[in-house]
Structure formats: structure tokens, C-alpha cells
Point group: C2
């Protein structure tokens, strides 16, 4: 317990986000990530988050039974290999993986590895999308571990995944566990045919929603997204829009990546900013917990 309370006295952490283009083979993606993680660590990153399903192209563009072969146990071979790297570099790693849980049960998962290489646990994506070219409900069983945080060497982190971004409930429930930083590994992009009409609004909504989570909860939010045009065998095509970013507890952008380049995003999270912001904007103080019961409903009767 002494060690844990010492950890929590850390006055900040350097976040590293790895924004990359997907290679076709898992080994190539893992090798690329190892290079980029080393670069991030060399530049001072302490908590490094990889993008959603970083080992593969975004295979959910089609419903293909063969893709289940891409899944692996978590913890498993990839977390073991990344654990060794984390220990060597003394960095925390958040590694989003396609988890094989049991025969016929799969999750969209993120593993959390501490800076001594130890596997701390995993988050299983709770909100699963299903839209044209994002056929995730076919692949992923909804998470059953709830919203979670972990005390790492460099701060208490919450991890949520992509579609969770649109749910203030998810951010709140992670922040209420004392997260200093909420990480959102992501795979979001444009349908090329929609981009001219809606592309800007979609990207702005995506960013604004997450910056609003930082504001509502007075904590840091770090989103990491892939880049590149990915074509699926089924004829689908998505242009992933990158723009990985870190927002501070007032929702200000403290770092932001481009839309089409591989990039290591670095940003400092200053934990005194969390206290300062929450003291001046004490939103937690005034939550009407006596009146929030309806949030457990789907929609109001007759509504």
C-alpha cells in the first residue's frame, strides 16, 4: 500500500500515442509498434497507448468467419512480448487486441501492462457498434468486465475503446474511479463517398465529444486513431482519419496529430491541473445522484 500511495503522488505523466497505418500481417504491425514504442519512450513517453486492434487491418469491414483466426488469448503471446518491452523501457503500455476468450467467444479488448512488464488486467469494449463496414457486432461479444481503471507506475488510467467514445456514461464511470487519464484506442474513419458532405462534421463531433468528457470529468482524455485507406476483400473502403489527440481537464487540446501520417503524439498530463480544474469547476460535487435512476432505462415509456 505504501508503494501505491507513493505512485499516486506523482505530479504528472508523459503520454505517448502511436498513430499508424496498418500493415497486412500481425508480425509486421507488431514490429512497427515496437519501433514506434521505442521512439516514444526515447522521447520521454511514460504511458504509451496503441490504436484499437493494432495487430491487423480493420477486418470488421466484412463479416468473415476466417477473421476469428486472428484472435488470441489476453494475456497471451502479444502481451508477453510487449511486457518484456515495457519492462526494458520502463513504460506503461496499453495494447488493444482481438481477444479469444473461449471457443466462439471473442472480445475487442485492451490489455494494460505496467512499467515493470507486469500484466495488470484488461478492458473489454462495452459498447459495440454495427454500421456498414463496421460490423463489430458480428465479431465481438459485448464486454462483461464493466468500466475499469488501473494504478500504473505513472498514474491511474482508465481505458475505453472507440464506440465507447460516444457515451458520456462510460467516461463518467471510469472517471468516478479516479482515473487521471482516459485512453480511447480507436479505429474511426470516413466512408470516402460521405467525406465531402459529412466528413468535417463527423471528425469535429468525434473530437468534441471526447473533449467534453475531459470537461465533464475534469481529467485528461487521450484518443489514438489509425490512419490510411483500407480496402477490404468484400469491396469496402474506409479512410481512417488519424487526428489522435490529448485534451486537458478544461478540454483544451494539448497535442494533436495529423489526419494521414504515422506519428508519435507526446503530451504531458499534469495531475495538479486535475485538482485545480475540479476545484474551480466542482461538477462532481453537485451531481444529482438521487435523480439519475432513469439512466438505467433504455428510453422512457412512451418517449
Amino acid at each position: 500500500m505504501a508503494a501505491k500511495s507513493k505512485k499516486n503522488r506523482a505530479d504528472g505523466a508523459v503520454i505517448g500515442l502511436i498513430q499508424a497505418r496498418a500493415e497486412s500481417k500481425p508480425e509486421a504491425n507488431l514490429a512497427k509498434m515496437e519501433v514506434m514504442i521505442r521512439r516514444a519512450a526515447g522521447n520521454g513517453a511514460q504511458i504509451i497507448c496503441l490504436q484499437e486492434l493494432f495487430l491487423t487491418p480493420y477486418f470488421c469491414q466484412a463479416e468473415d468467419y476466417a477473421c476469428f483466426q486472428l484472435a488470441e488469448p489476453v494475456p497471451g503471446p502479444t502481451t508477453e512480448r510487449l511486457g518484456r518491452l515495457a519492462r526494458r523501457l520502463k513504460v506503461v503500455l496499453i495494447a488493444p487486441l482481438f481477444e479469444r476468450r473461449a471457443r466462439g467467444i471473442y472480445h475487442n479488448t485492451a490489455a494494460v501492462i505496467d512499467a515493470d512488464g507486469r500484466y495488470l488486467g484488461k478492458y473489454r469494449k462495452m459498447h459495440i457498434p454495427d454500421d456498414p463496414l463496421f460490423y463489430e457486432k458480428f465479431y465481438f461479444t459485448p464486454g462483461d468486465l464493466g468500466f475499469r481503471v488501473w494504478d500504473t507506475k505513472y498514474g491511474r488510467v482508465g481505458v475505453l475503446i472507440c464506440w465507447d467514445q460516444w457515451y458520456p456514461e462510460a467516461a463518467r464511470l471510469a472517471a468516478m474511479q479516479g482515473a487521471d487519464i482516459l485512453f480511447y484506442p480507436t479505429a474511426i474513419g470516413w466512408h470516402p463517398r460521405e467525406k465531402a458532405a459529412l466528413g468535417r462534421a463527423q471528425l469535429e463531433a468525434w473530437q468534441m465529444t471526447q473533449r467534453a468528457h475531459a470537461i465533464a470529468n475534469g481529467c485528461y482524455v487521450a484518443a489514438v486513431n489509425r490512419v490510411g485507406l483500407e480496402r477490404s476483400a468484400g469491396g469496402g473502403c474506409l479512410e481512417f482519419w488519424g487526428r489522435s489527440f490529448v485534451a486537458d481537464p478544461m478540454g483544451r487540446l494539448v497535442a494533436e496529430a495529423g489526419a494521414d501520417c504515422e506519428q508519435v503524439v507526446l503530451a504531458e498530463a499534469r495531475f495538479d491541473e486535475i485538482e485545480e480544474t475540479r476545484t474551480h469547476w466542482p461538477f462532481f460535487r453537485d451531481r444529482r445522484i438521487d435523480a439519475y435512476g432513469g439512466l438505467k432505462e433504455r428510453f422512457y415509456p412512451g418517449g
Copy 2:
């Protein structure tokens, strides 16, 4: 019920927001509002929302027992007078008032008046702030009517007030009742001494948070704020930042006022946009209502 379902087939409504500087006397504010309401209606507004506590300067800059004399019953003399105007102009009016409920019990309230002049009901501000120069906890008993919507002639409206803006829970609970538009009458401004360092971030956070409510819930959001420098007898001073706005269900600004001018903001809410947006971004579909129980907690144990 036939009439109600006919109402709900309306394909849109023109929103009017009245952004104004406060005069010192209630009668002067009411007279000014009547002029501006007529102007808004003359320009096509159908649902018109006034700013928070529109009858007075923002008296909460000081804790002054004498100010309780400013309160009135709701419904009461002001809603009766506005009801006649609403009927004459065939407009829905949302009128935020300082409500005297009983001896020693007061609320920060908004009355909803239909386009036939009928008083439909009231919302009592649920989240009450208390910051230097915003001493609302001294004046206002927290609302006990919950989060509400009303079917008006021109659409189903939810009403929330100012500090409620920072709570995604409030927006969600009103939207879950089928609100087409969430209205936020507001009195927010800068402490002049903070403006240079924090003013821009505060205003952006305020706007972003509410645009995020539009996105998360796929509905329109309309915020109306006062303008002007108000000095209190106690030596306080606030610069209200105006910038009243309407956001569409993708969070795009469809109208926005300046920071220091009296202004009638007009914007069309197109209800087909609500369905279109929610169909493409079906966030309600995937809410994990089985996992949201923690939202009724203050903060997690040990968190």
C-alpha cells in the same frame, strides 16, 4: 391523443433565443422582453426562450436576504402576462423565473407556456452551483421535479438551466423522454480578472459541452445567455459572455450570437435531422443499461 400525435408530425420549428442586457428593474426587463419576443415572432420564431432569471440582474453575485423579495409564484403574474402574449403571437415561450414556492423555499425555475397561452408546467433547476459571485446555493433549493419535457404546439421541448449544462446525465434524461430540442437558459460570464488567462477556454468548454449533448443524444440544443457587465452592491463584477447558440443533432452550430450585443437568435430545428442522425449514429441502441448502475453513486469507494 389525435392532437398530440398530429403535433409530433411537425417537421420542424423555428427557435428564437432572446439574448439581452439586464436592466435594473423587473418591469423594464419584462417590457424589453416583450419587445424582443414580438420581434422574434415577427421574424418567424415559434419557440422562444428567454435567459435565466430574465427579470433581474444576476443578483446571486452576493448573498442578500433582501433579494428573496424578487421571487414570485410560478405560475403567477409574469406567466399570466406572458401567456397573453404567447396566445396573441401564437408562440411557445420558455420563461425562466425566480420562483417563490413557500415561505423560505425558493427555486431557480423555468415556466413553459404553449402557443395558445396555456401554462404547461415548470422545470426547477436540479444542479445548483456555488462559486465566488455565483452564490446560488444560498438562494435556490435544488429542484425536486426531475428532468422534464413538454409537448408544445411546435415540438417536444426539454428545459434545463445553466449549471445543468455541465451534466451529461441531465441532457440524457431529458433526451430520453423524446425531446426534440433541449433549451438551456443561462447566466454565465467571466470574472474580469480571469478573462485573459482562462476566458477563451471557459467559453469554449461551455459551448463544446453543450454541443456534445446534441451529439450524444441526437437532438437540437439551444442555449441562451445574457450579456453585459453587471456590478453588485457587494463589489462583485461579472461580464456575461452572450454567445447564445443553437446546435444541430451532429453538434454543428446553426446559429450563434455575439459576446456583447443584445440579439434575437433565430434557427430552424428540422426534426427529420434528428431521425437521420440517430439512424446513422444509433447511440441509444447500444447504451449498456445493464452496466450504468454506478452512475447513482457519488464516486467509487476508495476512488
